[in-house]
Every structure is written in C-alpha cells, then in structure tokens.
Amino acid sequence: MIERVLVWTLAGVLAAVGTGLGYTVLSLPPVDPGLSEQVAAQLPASGVENPVTAVLLNFRGYDTLLEIAVMSLAVMGIWSLAVMPRRRVGAPGPVLAFLVQVLVPFMILLGAYLLWAGSHEAGGAFQAGAVFAAAMVLVLLAGAPLPSALSHWPLRLLLMLGLMTFAGVGVVMMPLEGRFLEYPPTLAKHLILLVEAAAAVSIGMILASALRGGRPPPEQGS
C-alpha cells in the first residue's frame, strides 16, 4: 500500500519538475546573444583568439582555478580512502601490446598539439589533460607498473603543479595589476600558455591517479 503511494508521489514529483523545467526552457527568448558580444569585444585584450579559451583562462579564470582545486581535492579524497589495489599483471595480449606501442606516442603528441591549438582553435588544457590521462591509463592497462623513481615526491609535485602554477601566477601578478588573477595584456598570452601547460600535465596525472583507485602503497622496508 505504502509502495503505491510512494510510486505515485515520485511520478508526481517528476511530472512537476519536468513541466517546470520545460516551461522555463521554452519561455526563454529564441534568439539571445547572451555574453557573446561582450566576449568578442574584449577578445583582443585577452591574449588568445579562441573565445572559449579566453573565457576559461582569462575572463573566468577564477572558476578554472577552483575547478583544478576541486580535482586536486578529489585525488586527496581518493588517496585518503584507499590504497592502490595490487593488480594481477599478466603479459598483455598481442593486440593491446601493439596498440599501446602505436597509440601512446601519438596520443602524447596529440595532447601537446591540443594544448598549443587552444589559443586559436578549440582545445586547451583540459582537452590535452584528458588525452594524456587516456594515454597513461592505456599504459597501465597493458601492465606497465608505475616506475618507482616517480612514486614519491615527483608524483605529488606533478599532481599539484597545475594548482600551484595557476594560483602562483595569480598572486605574482597582483602587484602589477592590483587584483588577483589579473593578467597584464602584453603578458597575457604567455601566462595563459604557462598555466595551461602546467594544468594539462596535472590534469592528466590527476585523472590517471583517480582511475588507479588509491594512494601508492608504502615502500617496502623504508
């Protein structure tokens, strides 16, 4: 009996939410430039030619900084909860081994290209970071272990590099321009490229570490 009440309540809630959202969406004006004109007017001063990259890294750079912070927090949360599960590593099959040899260098090159192309076409730090992460996950799936030289502070440094670079650039530019994350227009292109490069590396490492599922196991005998 109580189940039927709950089912009908859920149906009523869904219908109400759906009607409200649909009505709201349909009542918006069919043509609305939004902020595209303001962005196009300020685009030459932003340092890049692609409007999405300009919005992400310059006009709304604070959102991107907080986003990288959220990803770093997610990795810290994952590392606090679990230790990396020990994988049973057998030899990878011939298809996987061949694909890893062919695809991974190409993916690294593609990620670097996406990072560079973000200034004038679609691309940028997050797209490049995702491709780097996919390349790392492919290598991990083929059974290559994390090199032990990379396990301790280099890994942690790479994970935090994007956040530190972005926040550092924002703080260092404060005496010049007076506000946090305000780029001087002559330096904007180079600062954006620097921040994007650090962020791409960090995002790749963060996503690959998240897929590994836990913190690195403690060293034996240390």
Binding site: I2, V25, P29, G34, D63
Partner: protein, 102 residues
C-alpha cells in the same frame, strides 16, 4: 521551435531520467550512473541554450561552464566510486538496504 529548444527539451528529459534512476535504484553504482546522466542532461541544456545567439558564433560562456562541469563531474564520479568500494569492503554489499515492510 528551433533546434536549440529541441536539444534543451532532450536535456530536460535526460535530467528527469537520471533523477528517476537516482531515486528508484538501490544499487550504489546505478545511483552514481544516474547522477552522471543528470549531469549530462544539464550540460546538454546549457550547450543548447548557448546556440541561441544572433549570428553563427555561439555564446562561449556556457561552453566554458560546461567544460568545467564535465571535468568536475568526472572527478566527483571517481571519488564516489571509491566511496562505494569502501562501503562494499565494509559491509559486503554495494546496495542500500531494502526498506522494512510495515
């Protein structure tokens, strides 16, 4: 109704589908997937509403917000899955307990 509104209504439908799955499904992984479907619906609505601008170039601000949202959703999903694995390790099952009858 132009194409932007068709995509927006599809996004609303995705959101409702995910919401229904979030409430009804007891298994934690299904709940996480339902949350992802809800997120995809929201991203579709925002991306579609950005296409309503005057000339060919769409509004870039919702695009940037959606890119941010996708990346945050991936990171949150990873954390949620690790939490689910901890629940499974602690209790032996990854489902919410069935409600007591009567």
């Amino acid at each position: 109704m132009n194409t932007a509104f068709v995509f927006s209504l599809a996004g609303v439908a995705l959101f409702l589908t995910g919401f229904h799955g979030l409430i009804v499904r007891a298994h934690l992984l299904r709940k996480i997937m339902s949350l992802n479907v809800m997120g995809s619906g929201v991203f579709l609505v925002m991306g579609a509403l950005a296409r309503r601008s005057v000339d060919a170039a769409p509004d870039p601000v919702p695009h940037a917000l959606v890119i941010t949202g996708i990346v945050v959703a991936v990171a949150s999903t990873a954390l949620a899955i690790v939490l689910m694995l901890r629940v499974h390790a602690a209790t032996g099952r990854a489902e919410l307990p069935a409600p007591d009858r009567g």
